[in-house]
Symmetry: C2
Subunit: 198 residues, 2 copies
């Protein structure tokens, strides 16, 4: 059987086992042995596909980023005729932990954030997608301005940061049990109402 193994598929399989475990105890609380068990293989096998734990962590991070991007773009495209406002709302809501899956995804983001704080290499990998997302948000705001739906005095870059801030922080509050998803979404809408005033 050896030799015809699809390395990428195996790595993805391991990465998803890791991500599943991460939602329970964070990155530091996950061991190679646990990942191997969760993925249904031996520890030697995991070692075969990832030389170090750190390499595995980085691969899983990239994998998650891919999944997340796909999910968000799919959500946006599914929203019928997309307007800047509906696009932004879809993105923000998608980020919030509304159900088990999105909560898991949010937790993974938190776990990697923690890791990134202490590990500069991880910080680089973790922060890579961020400017891109903010630029996308800013662009949507700009388009809305051109259409006259957002006041001209709004600063698209700062607005993008504020929009992200709301989703990010409200997500944490939901995790802490201080807010319900519905409350968080209405907070998002509250802000969008204010931003989108001609």
């Amino acid at each position: 059987m050896p030799k015809q193994v699809d390395h990428e598929q195996r790595r993805v399989q391991i990465a998803e086992a890791l991500l599943r475990l991460t939602t329970r105890a964070g990155l530091e609380g996950v061991s190679l042995r646990q990942v191997a068990a969760e993925a249904g293989m031996s520890m030697g096998s995991v070692q075969h596909y990832f030389k170090t734990k750190d390499e595995m962590l980085r691969f899983a991070l990239e994998h998650r980023h891919r999944l997340r991007s796909e999910r968000i773009t799919a959500k946006v495209l599914a929203e019928g005729p997309p307007t800047p406002r509906s696009i932004l709302r879809a993105c923000l809501v998608e980020i919030l932990p509304r159900d088990h899956d999105s909560e898991a995804d949010f937790l993974i983001g938190v776990a990697y954030f923690i890791r990134a704080v202490a590990d500069p290499a991880m910080a680089k990998a973790f922060g890579e997608g961020m400017p891109e997302l903010l630029a996308f948000f800013a662009d949507q705001v700009r388009q809305a301005q051109d259409a006259g739906d957002v006041p001209a005095w709004a600063d698209p870059e700062i607005e993008a940061a504020l929009l992200w801030a709301i989703a990010d922080s409200q997500g944490s509050e939901i995790l802490m049990g201080h807010r319900t998803p519905a409350e968080a979404i209405s907070t998002v809408d509250y802000y969008l109402d204010r931003l989108f005033t001609p």
Copy 2:
């Protein structure tokens, strides 16, 4: 020498050693042995004052909360004649990691947040101060409304959540190196400018 030892002082001493270490590797990366070494005492001594690691963590969390509250109220009171706006701004700026100390404090908050996500008991202790802070923010907004500085249509509770969101999220962005403290503060001012329009 025994018997006349000030237990509370010893516990604070240990807690501060723990907090110092926490800024480097997070809560999970800190061991009893390290804490003892950092506090300049033996591990047995630490065990004497805290039966379990978890108890130590919880005490340190409360200690930090006390320090933080004192620091913020001191800052607010030092601001000459306090207006709701200046109070809110002082609070938000105080939360942001602007220098080494405030960065350390922010990191400690993050570390406890992580812990709280996985540990319900810690979540309770961690989240205790939150509603209180939000209520304080909301009250400031309400006062500004009464004075005619904030539009009547603003919702104080949601505004409080938004203000916290900005500080929280911008703080993370600073840690990740995506924003400078100055940029984050100008984002805060941008939002306050918008909120405080008669």
